[in-house]
């Protein structure tokens, strides 16, 4: 337990992943769902960096990938926030449950 190994990080990241999923399912605020997505992406990054750290091979592909994930997350957040604002302008709320005109 006291020697920190790969597994510690993986389990931590799995826990954060599941928290993210839970947030995405239960939050009615669109921004809240985005926060859930960020949590999941964060857990992905923890995975990448931990794997990178505990690999025997040269190179740091994991870290680079994590860098790209951060960039993509930022880009996605930008679009998503703009879209949420657009929704707010249209239905005057950010509650995603109110946006169910399209169904069936």
């Amino acid at each position: 337990m006291l020697t920190i190994g790969l597994m510690h990080y993986l389990v931590l990241s799995a826990a954060i992943f599941c928290c993210g999923i839970f947030v995405m399912i239960t939050k009615r605020n669109a921004i809240g769902i985005l926060i859930g997505v960020e949590l999941v992406l964060n857990s992905v990054n923890v995975n990448f960096i931990a794997f990178d750290r505990y690999s025997q091979q040269p190179g740091f592909d994991g870290q680079i990938t994590a860098l790209f994930v951060i960039v993509l997350a930022a880009a996605e957040a930008a679009v998503a926030v703009a879209i949420c604002m657009n929704l707010y302008k249209n239905i005057n709320t950010i509650d995603v449950d109110r946006g169910d005109a399209l169904h069936g």
């Binding site: 839970f22 669109a30 921004i31 960020e38 990054n45 870290q63 994590a66 679009v79």
Partner: protein, 208 residues
Amino acid sequence: MLVRRWTSRRFLLTASAAVIVLSATVAFGQESADLKGVPRAVQGGLLEALLFYLFGGTALVAALGVCVSKSVVRMATWLFGTLGAVAVLYLLLGAFFLSAIQLIVYAGGTLVLLVFGVMLTSKSPWVRFECSKVEMAAGGGIAITLFTGLFLMLTRATWPASAATANGATVKDFGKELLTTYLVPFEVASVVLLVVMIAAAYLARQER
């Protein structure tokens, strides 16, 4: 509820302090200037375990805090806690550059963006939409099932290497990799950012 009592403001203060302390530890303990590995003082010892549990726990608690928060502002604050704690974990893992990027881009950029979004999209930032108990239960069930599954899967698996290696990378290394091996994704990401900027600007601007 522990999490409730541990308000976000107090948490935020503690976390910031911890980050500063840890950064100082790392900075003082380091052997070489190029930051190519985790300092010996930290590596593999009790200190690493301590720091992992401290900050890993913080990240997890903050993630749970996101889960149980009712208001979106609180959620964002808790998320900041996770991001910060994870940044510290990056330090432990020897990813110094990433740690900085995490704080600058993620915590500094993305999170602020989200908070802006909150501010711009509600009449009051403290407005709450609560979902029903059944839905909570369904979400919790799925999350717990998923976690159990992942836990079993990850612990039963055999991983190629479990010993840590000094795999740290300098900013210089990053630059070199980004412009050679990862040139294409790098360039594509820049185009994506341009396009996304236009998309966001279009969607967010007032119609004339």
